[in-house]
C-alpha cells in the first residue's frame, strides 16, 4: 500500500480548512467564534492560493548567488496571498471592533439574541409595535 500522494494531503488540508470554517460559521452561536471561523475559512482559501504557485523542485523566488539558474516557484501567488492576508487582518480587526461595541450595547454576543435585540431596536426606532407572535416565524415564537 502506497501512502497517498502529498498533494492529496495539501489540497485536502486546505479544503478541509475551508469546509471547517464555513461549518463553524454556521454552527457558532457566539459571534466571537464566528469571527474565528472566518479566520479559518480565509486561511483555507489562502493556503489553496499559495499552493497554486508550487513548482516541483522550485526554490524561493529571491535572486541570490545560490539560486541563480534554478527553477523558481511562481512568485505571483505569494504576492496575492500577502495581499489577501492583510485584507483578512483588516476585516477581522473591524469585526472585533464591531463585536466589542455590540457586546457593550447588548451585553451578549449570542447570535440569536443579538439578532433579536437588533430587530427590536430597529422596530422601536421606526415606532413599530413589537411583532406579535402571529408575525413571528415558528422557530422564534415564544412558547
Amino acid at each position: 500500500m502506497t501512502p497517498p500522494p502529498i498533494e492529496f494531503l495539501l489540497y485536502g488540508g486546505a479544503l478541509a480548512l475551508v469546509a471547517l470554517g464555513l461549518a463553524g460559521l454556521v454552527m457558532a452561536r457566539h459571534l466571537f467564534r464566528s469571527i474565528l471561523a472566518l479566520g479559518i475559512l480565509e486561511a483555507g482559501a489562502n493556503l489553496l492560493l499559495v499552493l497554486a504557485g508550487y513548482r516541483a523542485g522550485g526554490v524561493a523566488p529571491i535572486l541570490t548567488p545560490g539560486t541563480l539558474g534554478q527553477p523558481m516557484v511562481d512568485p505571483v501567488p505569494q504576492a496575492l496571498v500577502l495581499t489577501a492576508i492583510v485584507i483578512g487582518v483588516g476585516v477581522q480587526a473591524l469585526a472585533l471592533a464591531l463585536a466589542l461595541r455590540v457586546h457593550q450595547a447588548y451585553g451578549t454576543l449570542d447570535v440569536a439574541e443579538v439578532r433579536g435585540r437588533m430587530e427590536a431596536d430597529t422596530d422601536a426606532a421606526a415606532g413599530l409595535e413589537p411583532e406579535t407572535s402571529r408575525d413571528l416565524p415558528a422557530v422564534e415564537r415564544p412558547s
Binding site: L22, L25, V26, S34, A112, L136, P137, A138
Partner: protein
Amino acid sequence: MTPLDTLFILSACTLAVAWAFGRRPAAGGLIAVLYGGQILALAKMSGLASGALTMIAASPSFEVLGQALSWRFDGPAWFFALITLGAAFASAWFMAGEWGEGYRRKGGRLGLLQVALALNVSSMLLLLASGDLLSLFIGWELMSWASFLLMLSAGGVAVRWAFKYLIYALGGAMALLGALAWIHAQAGSLQYAAVAGLFATLSPGQAWTLVLAFAAGFGIKMALLPFHLWQGPAYAETPGPGSAFLGAISSRMGLFGILVVLVHLAGLDLLDRLLIPFTHLDARDLLGWVGAFTLIVPTFIAVRQHDARHLLAWHGIGQGGYMLIGVMQGDALGSAGGLLHVFNYATYQAALFLVVTAVVHRTGTADLNKLGGLVTRMPLSFLVMLVGIIGLAGLPPMNGFVSKWLIYRDLISSGRPLMFVATVIGTLGTIISVYKLIHNTFLGQLRMEHEDIREAPWSMLAPMLGLIVIVFLTGLMPGLVLDWIAPVQAALGLPVLDHSLGGVDLPNGGLDMLWVVGLLFAGFGVGALLFLAGNRHRYVHPLDNYAGGHFLTTEVRYHYSDDFYPGLMHLIGGWYRGSIQWLERALVSALDFLAQWSQAWFRSAQPALWLLGVTVFALWWVV
C-alpha cells in the same frame, strides 16, 4: 397639421385649463366648451364616419428600441372617440354650475375631479388613436391610471375600491405586457401588420395563450366574469359626473381592445380554430359564453343593491356582456348590434347616472330605502329616468331596443337558442332592477324630509335632457348611428350591415323603428283618447292610503322599498354566496402567507447556512 393634431392639442388645452382653474366652479363652463370644441374637431374628421376616408394620422411619431410609435384615427377610433367626448361633454356641463359649487362646499376636491376627467379623456383619445400595439399599451396604462385617479377623487371609502380596481387593472396590464413582450420576441415588431402576420403562423397552444392573455387583459377592464368584482363599487363611489363618464364609456375601452386585437388582428377565424378539448366549443364560443354569464350574474347582483349608484354600476357590467356577445357573433347583424349597443348604452347610462347624481344633489342620499315619491318634486328628472330605464331595459321606442333586437335576432337566426335564452334572462333582470330603481326613487310616497325638494337646476337638467333626446331620436332613427358603424365594421374586417334610416331590412322580416314608434304612439294616442273620453279617472292623493283597513296618519309613510322582491331574493339567494369573492380573499391570504414565509426567511438567524447550502448545491450541480 392634421385634424387629429388639432384634437390632441385641444385635449391637452382642456387638461391644462382643468389643472389651472379646475378647482373654481366658474371654470366648469369653459371646460365644457373645450370638450365641445373637441367634438367639433372630431366632426372635422367626419370623413372617417362616412367612409370617405379610412385613416387620419397624427404628425408626431417616435422610434423607441427599433419600434415605431405612431398615432392615427380610423373608423372605430372615431366612433369610440365620439362617445367618449360626448360623455365627457355631458359630464362637464353637468358639473359646470350648481353641482360643482355644492361638491366643493361639501369638501370635495373639484380641481382633482376635473383634472382626472380631462386626463381620462386625453388618455382614451391616445388609446383610440394608437397605430401599433406598443402605443396601444401606453394608452392603455395611462387610461388605467387616469381612471384610478378619477375613482379615488372622492376619498374615503372610494380609495379602497379604487385601489382594488388598480390591482385588477394592473393584473390585466401585466397580462397584456406579457403578451406584447412575447409577440415582440417572436415577430420582432409590434406593428399591426406584423402582429396579424404572426397570428397566422402560431401553433394552437401559443395562440390559446395569447388569446387568453389578451382576453384577460382587456376583459378585466370590461369586468368580464371572473374579474367582475371591482367594477360596481368602484364606479359607484366615484363622484357623480365622473361615474357617469366612467359608466358610459370607460369599460368599453376593453371592448375596443378586443375588437382591435382579437377581432381584427387575430381574426375570428383563428378563434374558431381554437377548440376546447372534450367539448364542441371553441375560443369564440368561450368568449361569447363569458359575455352571457357576465350579462346574467352582475345584473342579478344589481337587483340586490340598495344604493342607486351601485345598482346602475353593477348594471353596466352586464350590458358589456351584450356587446361582447354581439361582437363575437361576428356577422353583420350581430356585430352591428354589439357596436350600436356601445353607443346606445353610453347615452342612457350617462343620463341615468346624472339623474341619480341630481337626486343625490337635492336629497343628499342615493339610498333607495330612503327615497320615494320624488316625481311630484322633480318631474323633469323623472322623465329623464323614465326614458333612461326604458332604454336600459331595451324596450321600444328607445334606442336600447334596437341594439338588443339586432342581437336577439342574430342569435336566433344563427342558431344559438341557449345564448338567446341567456340574453333574455339578462334582460329580465334588467327590467326587474330598473323598476326597483325608478319605483324607489320617484314613485310611491314622498318622504317627509323631502317635502321642500326642488327640481334640479337647469345646468344639470340640460345635459340630461339632451341625452334623452338622443336616446329617443336614435331609437326612432337608428340608421343615423348605423351609418357610423358601417365604416367601423369595414375597418375591422367584419361584414357591413345593410341598413336604412329606420333600421334594417332583412329577407325574412326586418325592423323599421319609424313604423314601430309610429304605431306605438298611435297606440298611446288611442289609449289616451279612451282614457280621457271615458272620464273614469279619479285623482287620489299619494298619502291617502290604508293598511289592513286602518287609515294611516300622514306621519307614517307606507312606501314599499325595504326588502324589495323578497321572493326573488329568496329564490336566487344562492347566487350571492360569493365564491369569487372567496377566491379573491384566498389569493390575498395566500400572498400574505407567502410573504410571511419569505420575511421569516430574511429574519432567519443563519445566513451562513444558506451560503453553505447553496454553494454545495451549485457545486454539486456543476460537478
